[in-house]
């Protein structure tokens, strides 16, 4: 499975994007988000970007006011996931230009489309920014 979920949460703990690769009910999501956001937001910059939570790990990275949290299985390479987050941010940055929390909020579906290209079935399937963005660009042109 690898990646179980990807969350974007701002520093107030408000969810800005949530994508789960295993089904959880609304209540479960709500509880899980509350729990891990509390855990991760309480950590300081010197501490590891990894947190063990129940039977999986959370790899997180902060960009300005926005936290990117990725829940992964225990045998996943944490550093690689940390860089995957960065790749995601770079990709969004290439598309939006100086991406910020507002871009994601106003274009939630686009952020999701990018994730759909990058991750399927909880595995990283595409890492070329051109390939990730081309469907979105084509859709923009078409409509």
């Amino acid at each position: 499975m690898g990646i179980r979920f990807i969350l974007m949460v701002n520093k107030q703990g408000q969810t800005r994007l949530a994508q789960y690769y295993e089904w959880l009910t609304l209540e479960e999501r709500r509880a899980l988000e509350g729990e891990i956001v509390r855990k991760c937001l309480a950590r300081n910059e010197q501490q590891c970007s990894f947190v063990e939570h129940r039977n999986y790990k959370i790899v997180y990275r902060r960009y300005a006011s926005l936290f990117f949290l990725v829940g992964v299985d225990n045998d996943e390479n944490e550093l690689a996931i940390l860089e995957f987050i960065h790749l995601l941010v770079e990709t969004m940055d290439r598309h939006f230009g100086n991406v910020c929390e507002l871009d994601i909020m106003f274009h939630l579906e686009k952020a999701h489309f990018m994730l759909e290209e990058m991750v399927m079935n909880g595995s990283i399937v595409e890492t070329s920014k051109a390939n990730i963005l081309s469907p979105i660009q084509l859709m923009e042109k078409a409509s």
Binding site: C48, R54, L79, V99, F106, M120, V125, E126, A130, L133
Partner: protein, 966 residues
Amino acid sequence: MEQLKTIGRELAMGSQGGFYQSKEFLDLVKSIGEARSKAEEDRIVLGEIETLKRRVSEPDIPKRKMKEYILRLVYVEMLGHDASFGYIHAVKMTHDDSLLVKRTGYLAVTLFLNEDHDLIILIVNTIQKDLKSDNYLVVCAALNAVCKLINEETIPAVLPQVVDLLAHPKEAVRKKAIMALHRFYQKSPSSVSHLVSNFRKRLCDNDPGVMGATLCPLFELVSTDVNSYKDLVISFVSILKQVAERRLPKAYDYHQMPAPFIQIKLLKILALLGSGDKQASENMYTVVGDIFRKCDSSSNIGNAVLYECICCVSSIYPNPKLLESAADAISRFLKSDSHNLKYMGIDALGRLIKISPEIAEQHQLAVIDCLEDPDDTLKRKTFELLYKMTKSTNVEVIVDRMIDYMISINDNHYKTEIASRCVELAEQFAPSNQWFIQIMNKVFEHAGDLVNIKVAHNLMRLIAEGFGEDDDSADSQLRSSAVDSYLHILGEPKIPSVFLQLICWVLGEYGTADGKYSASYITGKLSDVAEAYSNDETVKAYAVTALMKIYAFEIAAGRKVDMLPECQSLMEQFLASHSTDLQQRAYELQAVIGLDAHAVESIMPSDASCEDIEVDKALSFLNGYIQDSIEKGAQPYIPESERSGMLNISNFRNQDHHGASSHGLKFEAYELPKQTVQSRIPPATLASTEFVPVPEPMSVRESYPTTIVPSASSDAESTELKLRLDGVQKKWGRQTHSPATSTSSSTSKKTVNGIKQVDGSNTSNSSTWETYDSRKHVEINSEKQKLAASLFGGSSKTEKKPATGHKISKPSSHMVEKSHVRKSSMEIASEKKALVHQPPDLLDFGEPTVQSSDPPSVDPFKELEGLLEPTTQLGSTAAAATNSPDIMGLFTETPGGTHNKDDSDILSSLSKQPVTNMVGGATSTQVAQSSKGPNRKDSLEKDSLVRQMGVTPSSPNPNLFKDLLG
């Protein structure tokens, strides 16, 4: 003026092609963004739900409007509220002709529904249609949905089409089709077992993206069945080689690393394939060695690949040279100031240590630093490492540390884990029984409710059986030390139930065995336990049985038994207990006390808990009694099988037989609990004590010692008890307190007496325990000093001091470290600044003060990319062209058995790839430019929007790009 503002805003946000957004949507996002609290956010969302409920049911909603409503529904669910009223509209939207609207519909559906939702059946049809579409983007959108929405039952509906798409001319479609097949394999391996060969074929796809995606299912396949994929080792190795030699298109590079995510996946697969296979591993040595050399250890991604190499090296058949490189990489990780790298280093050390245990020693100080680090994540990882390197020489230090940590944390999940690890290590490596019991006591004391009941049973068995050596004095010493420690622990205020059960059992068996404690002292303690934990039926049952044993041993030893008054009151209470189990035990106790020494000795032999007991299942000893009864006119026993038929008949028959049938019913009631024959028979015999000759129920009750010692039967007992307990607790809950208190108040005189006695004994005892405690403390202290030495086996007794010195000097050495460290400290600095200056505004991304230092007009990251892209691509074309014969050779070599005309030739693909990529790159930069515009314009637009919304202007985010640029 107001109107103008709105127009400006819409212009700004609507600038991105068809992704048009209305004022309403912008206002919603704005208000959510500005919400100061969860309550405020909830209020906004609840209002939004009402609006949407009205809106979505309006007739003739234009597509664009509908798309927006659906996105607002996504917001509603994302923020934790139910949006199920709108699901059907999302489903409808998937039928739309417009690609963007359709894809948004699919997105919403995948976010809203799980694969077993009723609405899925409405989508399957649409998916089928879309999979046939001429527009490959529509096909891709449908395949995305397939990966999320198709369950085992619906696989056949789309499977043929998905298989066809594996040969689609567009690489994006092939990639997604592979992933859809992967999903089917995850959901139901049998449904696609005949299609697994497709994964092998796609491994040689022309497109590196498809190849990379195919590694995901192959990884899973290899991990379930390594041997069937040994033939692919050569292919994987050659692909990895090509990736490492930068033969993939530049677009897959990440921070100057060639396709690192593909490298990592390949290394994971190789680790599986090479595990314990010398021949396969030998094929990998060169390429893994190359990667070790090529990895840039100054970047995160380089270290990620290095880490994966270490994992691979420690999994495959060992190679000294590679192990050396791995050890070097590990020591770099551990010496780094970055906690992330230390974490990876500790994890990698744990892997490598299995192969070369000696490498731990050079890192002992780093490990101890990590162990003492305030960062919990790092600490836990280090405990994991210690757990892996535990030997009989260092078990004491490690388990002591683990227990200290276990006591300090609140997280029950991890507490359970670390407790079970302590138990495992203690059982495996315990240097002495005494130590083992001490450790177990600590585990039970602090995590008793979290450990498995079997652990307690194991400990009971250990105490009963001793350590297997024929040294009785050692065994009895072990027992008396256990009794000592338990009597001491009973003074603690709150003891977990499992631990109390254990204590009661041990006190019952061995409390008076060595003559140190009097029976009245032990029984006093036991009745205190039963009284103090009066709502725990299991503990009370254990206590009563323990009391019975003590009294039985006393009687057997020829001493006169005087039941303590508090015991008597306890017994009175239990004789009337709601729990039949407690009642039974109390009656048994009463019966035993009334017997003579000889009889008691035969039912309750002292220290016989390990003796095997032959259970006379046929109950032949009752034959005489039955004979008598039958002669007196009683009904003969009818086996169950025959009985049911007879009952039916007798029911149909006349009333005369009714009496007989009710007799039969009675029999049935006794017979019911068939599995636990031994423990269930006593009630029957007890109920009729007057009729039964004295020695006979005893021989039945002899089964008591058995039920306690061997884990299987004691399990049966405990589950039996639990079953009853559950019912009781659910029914009356806390109220079980009240009968207990009422009885205690009614017998207050006696209890006062009891407490006095207990107090006295406690104080008399505590002094000895204090000395014991202090002795233990000294031990721990001295052990702490020798921590490093004892962990790693010598050579570091003096090095411990440098360890603390090293820790102190860390902040100063911070500055001199590698670039990424500097970067992170800059980040921290700017972050701190932000904290100081920033008004607490959610939408404020930038930092005016920083803006001046960071020119907003040019995005350096993009500039860099612009510079790099064309040239490097040309370079890669050239490289591919010159190297192409080589690659071809590598790929035709692959014995994957795939004789596909189109894909066996990577040469054409690779030489073609950069060309197409160049075109793609050109268009993409074009598009990027047109959509982003010159950076300045874009950011101006954004600024204006944000200003209109009444918030501080945004600007390029300094933190974001610190990271990007390094």
